[in-house]
Symmetry: C3
Subunit: 481 residues, 3 copies
């Protein structure tokens, strides 16, 4: 009987699958080749080494009277850069391996779009922030590499909402526009509003999350329950996802401090982030346990909500928020994030028609907004008595055009920046979602979502492995007879 069902099911699926063409044999190679060639041409026209990575560094040193090679920014930032790099590729990548049959897609497409995105980000961010006025070239160094990784993070967050439901070609388009929007939004927030956001609570997390959620809303799939059997995890896929969680968690202090001010700025950002993260672990375990019969813990919460403290500390990590202030931020964001997984995600799927595979609304959107608010309040309540006169100027860069700005006004601009980030996410997501809805991108049918078999050569699970392998089947050879 069960095989009759099997056969029926097979034909049913087969037919549904035919309805959508997931063949990406032309489109994916075309996108990869053409865009990579475009990158080469644009890099040829625009990108050069900056004075610290150019062989003229030795002359630059002499001219600027720099006493040692160690003053090359490379030695201030490279260890943090490598940690951020691990977060982007292993952290985000493995966090998305938790589905039972979408681990290849989770880590593999994350790899693809991040590798494209960092190139495009070097250009986009370069045009907006680093264009040399004399020769119209973008001069890059290690700080640009960090910023490119940051920029891509917002697109990877957006991927989290769409995980399993889009084709790699759609993801490339999502990244192309995501990086573009990011660069404009970042320019408005950091340069025009002169807001501070070293760890990107607003610029990266809030923007990225609303961008992804809006796309997911536009691409709503009413029949997604057809692939419900693939939406869960298996035991070992949950352990793989913990690799992603832990590398994100451990290196988040580097993320929030990577482009902070040299000296006390980086040092303080690390301490604040370390504490906020520790605090959100405890509240996540607490809420996860209290929400279940017998107090059993849910791996989805542990994998995600433990990171909320890092997101929420993104804006204020540089500020004198105090160690206990950091603990409080982590405390609250861990609670909010776990409650999100318990109540908001189901609500959003049913009522708002937003299908959020990884729960990015709980991990990035809400903690990101918290981070933006915390940043605005902390900035508005900064004082010379706490920061010192020079400290206040250095921390908020009250120089040049904004030399006369007060901390209250700064708080207002921080709040404005949060709205800019949300607006860019919503509007940008709606536009890009519309583009991605076109029936040309090779996205899977509802019944084939969350299934690596659509875009990957999946190894045949070898059920007969043990029987073909006599040395191992001491226990099983007899029952087979």
């Amino acid at each position: 009987f069960s095989s009759t069902i099997n056969i029926f099911f097979f034909f049913f699926c087969h037919k549904l699958k035919m309805a959508k063409n997931t063949n990406i044999r032309i489109s994916l190679p075309a996108v990869c080749f053409v865009w990579q060639i475009a990158m080469i041409i644009l890099f040829g026209v625009f990108i050069r080494y900056d004075e610290e990575s150019d062989t003229h560094w030795i002359e630059h040193r002499r001219k600027k009277n720099i006493s040692t090679n160690l003053e090359n920014d490379f030695y201030y930032r490279y260890p943090s850069f490598q940690d951020v790099h691990v977060m982007i590729f292993v952290g985000f990548g493995f966090l998305m391996t938790f589905l039972k049959r979408y681990s290849f897609g989770g880590v593999g497409f994350n790899f693809l779009i991040a590798a494209f995105g960092i190139q495009w980000a070097l250009l986009m961010q370069g045009w907006f922030h680093h264009l040399d006025e004399h020769d119209w070239k973008i001069k890059i160094g290690v700080e640009n590499l960090i910023n490119a990784d940051f920029c891509v993070a917002s697109c990877l967050i957006a991927y989290g909402a769409c995980l399993g439901k889009v084709s790699p070609v759609q993801l490339m388009v999502l990244t192309l526009f995501g990086v573009t929007l990011f660069a404009v939004e970042e320019y408005i927030i950091l340069e025009l509003l002169h807001a501070k956001d070293a760890g990107g609570s607003m610029v990266i997390h809030t923007f990225g999350a609303y961008y992804g959620l809006t796309i997911s809303w536009v691409l709503y799939r009413p029949l997604l329950s057809q692939s419900k059997h693939l939406q869960g995890s298996v035991y070992h896929s949950d352990v793989f996802a913990m690799i992603g969680t832990l590398f994100l968690w451990m290196y988040w202090p580097s993320f929030n401090s990577a482009i902070a001010d040299h000296g006390d700025g980086q040092h303080r950002a690390v301490i604040n982030t370390y504490l906020a993260l520790a605090s959100s672990v405890l509240t996540t375990f607490a809420i996860s346990s209290i929400s279940q019969n017998n107090g059993k813990l849910d791996m989805v919460h542990i994998q995600n909500a433990t990171l909320a403290g890092g997101v929420a500390m993104g804006t204020a990590s540089e500020f004198m928020i105090t160690p206990y202030g950091s603990l409080i931020v982590g405390f609250c964001s861990g609670i909010v994030s776990t409650f999100g997984y318990l109540f908001l995600t189901p609500f959003m799927e049913k009522t708002l028609k937003i299908q959020d595979t990884c729960g990015i609304h709980n991990l990035h959107a809400m903690p990101g907004v918290i981070g933006g608010i915390v940043g605005a309040i902390t900035a508005a309540s900064a004082s010379e008595s706490v920061y010192g006169q020079e400290g206040l100027i250095n921390t908020f860069d009250f120089k040049d055009a904004v030399a006369n700005r007060t901390v209250n006004i700064q708080g207002g601009y921080q709040a404005a920046a949060l709205f800019v980030a949300i607006a860019f996410g919503l509007v940008g997501g709606a536009l890009v979602g519309g583009i991605l809805k076109l029936p040309i991108w090779g996205d899977p049918a509802d019944v084939n979502c969350f299934d690596d078999d659509v875009y990957w050569e999946v190894p045949e699970e070898d059920e007969n492995f043990l029987s073909r392998h006599p040395n191992m089947n001491h226990a099983t050879s007899i029952p087979d007879v």
Copy 2:
């Protein structure tokens, strides 16, 4: 027939399980919330940024005539800190995923107690070592973060002995008292005895191991064999554990050098640890192979005993032990540790009634004691001809109160420190074990040990996965008929 056994077994287990109440829905959230709130209050009262992470750093620099931001301790220690952080969360966490059905508990509870422990350690270690006499505040910087990670390591070692047999609430209690005992013991060893122990062979490993073993002895379970079928590994859980092993192994040089003296101290500690670790890999493989028919290797040995060289080099890593001295230390500790797994662990379980899940006696206790002894001998045999006059003073900090101490006397104090560490472990473990024996902590019945299903929502293993998934079951669809 097999299903009859199944049903019988089911009721049998069910009944046994009823005997113990493993519901932690009240206790775990209560502990997490109350203790986290206590942390926030205590941090509010006691913890502040130190002068290198405060915005007044720029004034401090000017006052102390520090020429560059690079002299901020952050740039000396942050890369090592991040490596240590990875060891604590991924290293210890994944090393404990080797059991076939306790990977969630291994990596998850490790995460929970480490996140709590580092906060409590910042307070405890701060009160003993860093309390500012003027304002009674603890001023923290990156070195405090490293020391907090170190302190927690001792509790994670103790967890290794109890893995699979205790509830997360018990682990929180174990950590609360473990960190407290650690701070006192560390104060006696480093401040009162003025012993040196940069990598913590005594302070961390010996103490942590005897603390955990004594707890395990107090909590002895005579019927633990009821869960024997869960005490082994499966193929992929052994590969997961190798992630833990390798990150511990690779970053151990950072562990032993993280708080060593700037300059040659850190540099030498790295070289010594690198060599000791390499050497213990070879002797571990040798003993593992020679102990089995056909010379087959045992993954348990490779996962653990290869690390013994790092433990044993913890005290002497800063000293001029010479490169070949490091190789000898690794050589011996690899042998001792592997023999421990072969003979001592079964002996301890049968005769001494100590059930040591991860074999921490072999990986931490014995190599830790070796490390303490090596440290004492190396210190006692130090000489001005080898170290140079200033080098000797710098290495052993023969300043102020101990300015007139000779190397022989230092050797004696090093030996005394070892006994302090053992004594704290034994006495502390007995006390805390007594507390954990109370029947209120929600620990599992013997038959439910090593089973994630007690404390976690474990994903249903989807046996029908392939049949519901027609694209993948070419090979299996026919036999199903």
Copy 3:
């Protein structure tokens, strides 16, 4: 019927297995012990701390007028060293876990031979490059540790060609001779020819790959298809391999910059490698997709060819190759490498009788040769107008004996270096292959290749696990009846 086949198969295998004695109970421990003791003796005679890791550093500082501990090379190179260390043990180790039943051997033997190789490399490279003329000692510091890791990388590459087909004793022999040959080859290329090769496209990758391929050719197994059922991956082993891929990919900028010149040299090497790697990801995905029906991606390509850009950038990473030049190098090497997996590997196995388990010809040999050629061209086309006068001298070390060398001549020497690397690989591989062909090393029979069961205690796969574990088999208990 299937059980009859099973039984037949069992005896057939049993007999074949008897034909080869894979008992390594004497040979492996003997090799490990004797060689480790030899290391201790040789280290005792030859190896000492250098002036930066010795307690006399403080006097050295004063004598050389070094203002800060930060000028200790440790602070320039230690973060890069740790990244390289992760590549050697986790990167190479986990990349070789992709086989369904050889993950223990992949990561475990990688661990063993790397731990031996780094010790032997410190000696061999020390004798050739760092022997102090006054006291005939080798003085080691962090740069020696990096170089030892580099040296071992070439042997791990060679292991890739032999994966699953050799015994650990053979691998130790392969490493002993591989490190020896490497040290000579490196001496010729870097010291005699004065070629530049910071990331080792020629010295490490080209040499290592041809060394391994020639050994594999000598050890050709005509009946290897007998273990064909073990030559593939399973779903989770492919995810494990992605851990290796990503850590190699992320840390490759550190690999190519670890021993580059302080300051702009390291900085530029990072940028160039970062870009080349990103570019090769896109072309790998493109070719992988275009080569299959429906454009499905192949995990083998993603796991390997994405790294080709890092290999190909090994020689020129220090040079002013320009950012878009780096993108072009990555673009081409990704294509070449993926085509290699598609066409060359099958061709080499059938026609040239070279069985290359991991496809090192595609990942290391061809991109390594590309890297050598790119390096020669970039060097030959260097100019004072681009590099600056001092920059040109610094980058190519046109000092002392080679003070008058022109860039054209340098290009010629670079090309010559490539031939030296290939020649050492081919000749060395033939010699060592001959030694490894002796029937004394305990290598497996053809039918037992790619099977951990030969050299490891493999945990019994517990088919009855679910039935013995009633809490988990809600879904499966009924069908069992």
